[in-house]
Amino acid sequence: MTRRIATYVVLGILAIVVQKFFDDFASISSISPELVILFVVFVTLREGQMVGMEAGFVTGFLNDILSTHFLGFTSFIAVVASFVAGFFYKEADVDLTGRTLNYVWICAIALFVSEFVSIPIVSAGELNYWYVFLKFTVGETVYTALLAMVVVFVNGRKSRYV
């Protein structure tokens, strides 16, 4: 159990650090993949909705502190994403998390919903809703799903599930 928690902590920190790297070097028109969400969905699918939401809040909070985002914004998205992902939690599939394409579409749905509900916060009365929806909601969802696919293929090669 301790080992598992330590692994999640390391993965979470890694996700935050690499997220910074992606924001700086891999963003396309200020759209970058949400690694924190990939991590949170991963934890949710393995540990359940409750643990996922808690992990999402803490990871999002740390990510916001270490970046120039709105403090609480990534927490909000991560909590919503893990809440949505929690509905796909099945204890029997725990070992397959991150190794099948299920992970990709669950990530996409979770991120789409969380980005969608955050539109009013991002827009803040200044940006066009459709613009925010197409650019951030759809854009980040697609980009993150592509990265999730890479994770699945890299991870899945170790097993016979992909």
Binding site: D24, F25, M53, L66, S67, T68, G72, F76, V80, F83
Partner: protein, 279 residues
């Protein structure tokens, strides 16, 4: 009531936590204008900036090859620009000298551009873009802002060939300014000129200026030819060996003047008459 709560709470536990965490997140968002929250983010951002700097160094290392290629291209462009600028500066200097010369000259001058060069087997010619149409005649002296270039060797309709001082067949009567020593300037070795027929008794020193002589039947007197670089007495010879550095840089010659100079015919006629009477 308690029983209902004990049944409801496990069922709604996730929803309650979700609501609480979302509310907490929204509360944090609402605190973003708070100065302490900003300070917290500044500290966090500064902490990660060290990491980012390290990552940028690594990324920069892998980009070195492309950056190097870009720099090489930029360098080539700058070298090209520098060469053009140098050429323009040189041309500008020559034109200024020529303008100065034109204002001071008592002889009519015809401006010309150098369009070609021939250097082969001791021949040293330059082609200029004026010819007989412009009133050019063979034998007329040609000069630049720095000094004497040579004489018109062939005059075509639109172009003329100038035999420069560096040509092996070139002979110009000259004198050393400080000493009034006369001699003949011919082409020397390795881009130098030689002043010949200078008697050993004359004191010619390096640094002396050599110009066209009053005895010259080709060019008007007082046009600078070059500067003495060495003068020595050769054993067994009654003449000095004098080497000159030409005043004109023949390698970068771009603009010249043709001097509409004709030596006085009366003096030549008088000399002929004297010779005939003597006989």
């Amino acid at each position: 009531m308690f029983r209902w709560l004990s049944e409801f709470l496990p069922f709604a536990r996730n929803y309650i936590v979700f609501t609480l965490l979302v509310a907490l997140s929204l509360f944090l968002i609402s605190l973003n204008n708070n100065r302490q929250v900003r300070n917290l983010q500044v500290v966090g951002t500064l902490t990660t900036s060290y990491l980012e700097s390290g990552v940028q160094d690594v990324v920069g290392y892998f980009q070195l090859a492309s950056v190097n290629r870009e720099l090489e291209k930029a360098n080539a462009r700058l070298i090209n620009m520098l060469a053009r600028t140098r050429r323009a500066i040189n041309e500008n200097r020559q034109l200024k000298e020529m303008l100065n010369l034109k204002q001071q000259s008592s002889v009519p001058l015809i401006a010309a551009g150098v369009v070609g060069r021939v250097t082969d087997g001791g021949k040293n010619f330059v082609t200029i873009n004026v010819g007989t149409k412009d009133g050019i005649q063979e034998g007329e002296p040609v000069m630049s802002g720095s000094g004497l270039v040579g004489t018109i060797y062939l005059a075509g309709e639109d172009f003329s060939i100038v035999r420069t001082l560096m040509d092996n067949s070139s002979r110009i009567s000259a004198r050393v300014v400080n000493d009034s020593t006369d001699g003949i300037v011919t082409a020397g070795e390795q881009g130098a000129l030689e002043l010949k027929d200078v008697s050993r008794r004359h004191h010619v020193r390096p640094g002396n200026i050599v110009e066209t002589s009053t005895l010259s039947s080709i060019s008007p007197p007082g046009i600078i030819i070059g500067t003495v670089t060495s003068a020595s007495n050769r054993p067994g010879s009654i003449f000095k060996e004098v080497t000159l550095e030409p005043a004109v840089d023949f390698s970068s010659l771009s603009d010249v003047f043709v001097m509409k100079y004709r030596p006085s015919g009366k003096a030549a006629a008088l000399e002929s008459r004297a010779l005939r009477e003597k006989r």
